[in-house]
């Protein structure tokens, strides 16, 4: 047996061990893995094995805002989940000790800068670079360039109009550079093939349980549509997330399963069931 063969076997053993450890983490350990970015949402982190993969493209389908009378899906307006993006950007920002730059590519995903400030902490605001390309090709090029830069640690982009080859290019580059790319896409783009690591669908939702008068906590239900390379440990991949306006943080207060009677929940369940039956 040659030396090269021996080295390859050793690498293979290490990789298998790493995969086994990751599976153990997903079984209930709270410590995030080194190659993961903890979302800060306990249930979701547990399901993903520690958080979002640090090197990969993650697609987030925004909230559709169809006016009554509009039948064509292309006419539907959509809004990217900016609170969730800002929260995840903060999570990635806090994970790194060197405070890397965050690049926001595409005007659609630029949040109102106030959400990038947490109390007196303006680091995210000061380390954010906003890029506004005119077209899809420009956005893909800017994402590519940002991923290759040593100064950038995190990329948030408007992913509308990205096709399979573009997502493949970004996914491979993100993996090679071990950086996270969050791409926000219109919901109608769900049917387009993509090489993204994970795909998420966001809908507006009411808080479960009794509402306290005089309080508004913007909330959303997020559904994990795809998680490549790992089987989610939870059967029902939907969670309720809530924006804490005082702290500027997105919380995961309770499972969506608590929303037994809400029409939103019924819709989510019906869709999940339909997808399961389709896959069967």
């Amino acid at each position: 047996m040659s030396t090269t063969r021996h080295v390859n076997l050793r690498e293979l053993t290490d990789r298998i061990r790493a995969i086994e450890q990751r599976c153990e983490i997903s079984d209930g350990c709270d410590e995030p893995a080194a190659d993961r970015i903890a979302t800060g949402w306990t249930d979701i982190d547990a399901a993903l094995g520690g958080g979002l993969a640090a090197g990969g493209l993650h697609e987030w389908f925004g909230v559709e805002d169809t006016a009554r009378g509009e039948t064509h899906p292309a006419d539907a307006r959509w809004t990217p989940p900016l609170c969730i993006l800002a929260h995840l950007a903060w999570q990635a920002f806090d994970r790194s000790s060197s405070s890397p730059w965050v690049v926001w590519v595409g005007r659609a995903c630029h949040p109102y800068p106030r959400v990038l400030v947490r109390g007196a902490d303006r680091r995210m605001l000061e380390r954010s670079l906003f890029v506004s390309p005119r077209d899809v090709a420009g956005r893909v090029w800017a994402m590519d360039l940002a991923l290759r830069s040593q100064a950038v640690g995190f990329v948030v982009a408007d992913g509308s109009g990205l096709d399979r080859s573009a997502t493949q290019r970004i996914q491979l580059l993100a993996r090679a550079q071990a950086k996270v790319v969050l791409a926000v896409c219109p919901p109608r783009q769900r049917s387009i093939l993509s090489a993204a690591q994970t795909r998420w669908l966001v809908r507006t939702a009411h808080a479960p349980g009794q509402r306290r008068p005089g309080e508004i906590h913007p909330g959303w239900s997020v559904e994990l549509l795809r998680c490549k390379g790992m089987r989610p440990t939870q059967d029902h991949p939907s969670w309720y997330l809530e924006w804490n306006r005082a702290e500027g943080v997105v919380h995961c207060p309770a499972r969506l399963a608590d929303l037994a009677g809400s029409p939103q929940q019924r819709e989510v369940r019906t869709e999940s069931r339909r997808r399961r039956s389709a896959s069967a």
Partner: protein, 451 residues
């Protein structure tokens, strides 16, 4: 005398109005100081209208001290100036005699300092005006009067500065001046034997010239901030390409990536005869130890960010690459300012505490519309909080509402924006909106959304 007074005295007075600009004058003085480096190795500008030259050891090159001074005076007269020169063993003595002496050209020997200074007024010692006034109050107006007084009493009554200036003038205390430095120009050029129209040759030549230019910069540890490439064409105006960088850079590959797209679009006309590259603006780079395996570190971050921003700006335009700063305004659309990134500051500079406007701690939506969108609302009481709204073709009851938060433009800008009463509302569909009632028109608008 004011201009109006002069006009009243002299009818038909021709006026050449030159606006006073201290910065422009100071810049011109520094340019003149650099030009004077050909007469002395150490030249320091003395605002607002003086130059100090250290000519020790170099006068023999100009035929002696007297001839040296005469040449300097002639050179300055050729610039249209009326110079007053004095050469003395000390800077302070030379300055005092040049400004307050009787002759335009004075040479003072080593043992004549006291005699030269004695008849001059106290102001020639560069002391503060209040010290001059205080001395004048007690009848001391000339330097010889000051020199005759006991030193300890002088210091106690008029401060130590007076003594120090006197000692500097007499040579009892050394005085040094900070010389202006000559601007080194980094230019490389190549002249072809004849007109060249092949882009491959021009590309290879420009690459070579860029390498030579970067070699020059490397020896002085500087990086390029602005690069001008001039192509002299036969029977045509020279064509100049400009590169503006956000961070000093000396990386050939990066500069070539920015330069080549511009170069290949140049109209060569009947051919190029000469190519010149000039680093018109450079900046010192941090010295770095050469490493065999260079690992990314925080010290490389500004350079990496600068390269990223350069590429983005080059392709997308300066307005498409921005950063955000808080602004002093309560108006939501003016609370933050997007500014084009023109310069990437070093990491140490970004950490330096700076006074920035405070960010309003009140909750704000994550998505603020570019312009407020009109909505229809229903309220239980006139001008009260809405209980129903219709936005983007969908009508819903409002489940929760918080407000109002009144936001008004400052009194000096009341004409720009009226008073607005903002409410945070959540409708039946779970949409969290930021709506306001315009105080002037009474109309309702959606201005943002928590999403």
């Amino acid at each position: 005398m004011t201009l109006a007074h002069a006009r009243s005295l002299c009818a038909g007075l021709a006026v050449r109005d030159q606006p006073l600009s201290p910065d422009t004058d100071a810049a011109a003085l520094r340019r003149l100081a650099r030009w004077m480096l050909r007469y002395a190795p150490v030249v320091a500008p003395e605002d607002p209208d003086g130059l100090m030259l250290d000519i020790a050891g170099c006068s023999h090159l100009f035929g002696g001290e007297r001839e040296h001074m005469r040449r300097i005076a002639d050179a300055l007269r050729r610039w249209g100036l009326r110079p007053r020169l004095a050469a003395a063993p000390t800077f302070a003595c030379a300055r005092a005699v040049a400004r307050f002496g009787e002759s335009d050209l004075t040479q003072i020997e080593d043992d004549m300092i006291g005699e030269a200074l004695s008849p001059l007024p106290v102001a020639a010692l560069r002391v503060e005006a209040k010290t001059v006034d205080a001395l004048a109050d007690v009848g001391i107006e000339r330097i010889r009067h000051v020199a005759a007084l006991p030193r300890d009493e002088l210091a106690a009554r008029f401060g130590r500065e007076l003594l120090m200036r006197l000692d500097q003038a007499t040579g009892a205390v050394n005085e040094s001046i900070e010389s202006i430095r000559a601007v080194r120009r980094f230019i490389v050029s190549h002249a072809f034997d004849g007109p060249v129209r092949r882009i491959a040759i021009i590309e290879a030549t420009t690459r070579e010239l860029l390498s030579r230019l970067l070699g020059q910069l490397q020896s002085v540890q500087r990086g390029i901030l602005e690069l001008d490439v001039e192509l002299c064409r036969v029977n045509g105006e020279p064509q100049t390409l400009y590169l503006r960088l956000t961070h000093p850079n000396r990386d050939h590959a990066h500069l070539w990536k920015l330069l080549w797209p511009k170069l290949e679009r140049v109209h060569l006309g009947f051919g190029v005869t000469n190519i010149a590259l000039q680093a018109s603006r450079t900046q010192r780079l941090k010295n770095e130890q050469a490493a065999f395996l260079r690992e990314p570190s925080s010290s490389h971050e500004p350079a990496a960010l600068g390269e990223l921003v350069d590429r983005l700006v080059d392709r997308l335009g300066g307005a498409a690459v921005t950063c955000v700063h808080p602004a002093e305004s309560y108006i939501p659309e003016k609370a933050f300012v997007y500014t084009a990134l023109r310069e990437v500051a070093p990491r140490e500079a970004t950490r330096r505490p700076t006074v920035e406007p405070a960010v309003n701690p009140a909750p704000r939506p994550s998505h603020l519309f570019e312009s407020p969108e009109p909505i229809r609302v229903m309220s239980l009481v006139p001008d009260g909080p809405p209980v129903w709204l219709e936005w983007r073709g969908r009508a819903n009851k409002i489940v929760v509402g918080i407000g109002p938060e009144r936001i008004a433009a400052p009194w000096w800008a009341r004409g720009i924006a009226a008073v607005r009463d903002y409410y945070d509302v959540e409708d039946e569909e779970g949409r969290q909106l930021w709506v306001f009632r315009d105080g002037a028109s009474g109309e309702w608008y959606v201005h943002g959304q928590w999403i």
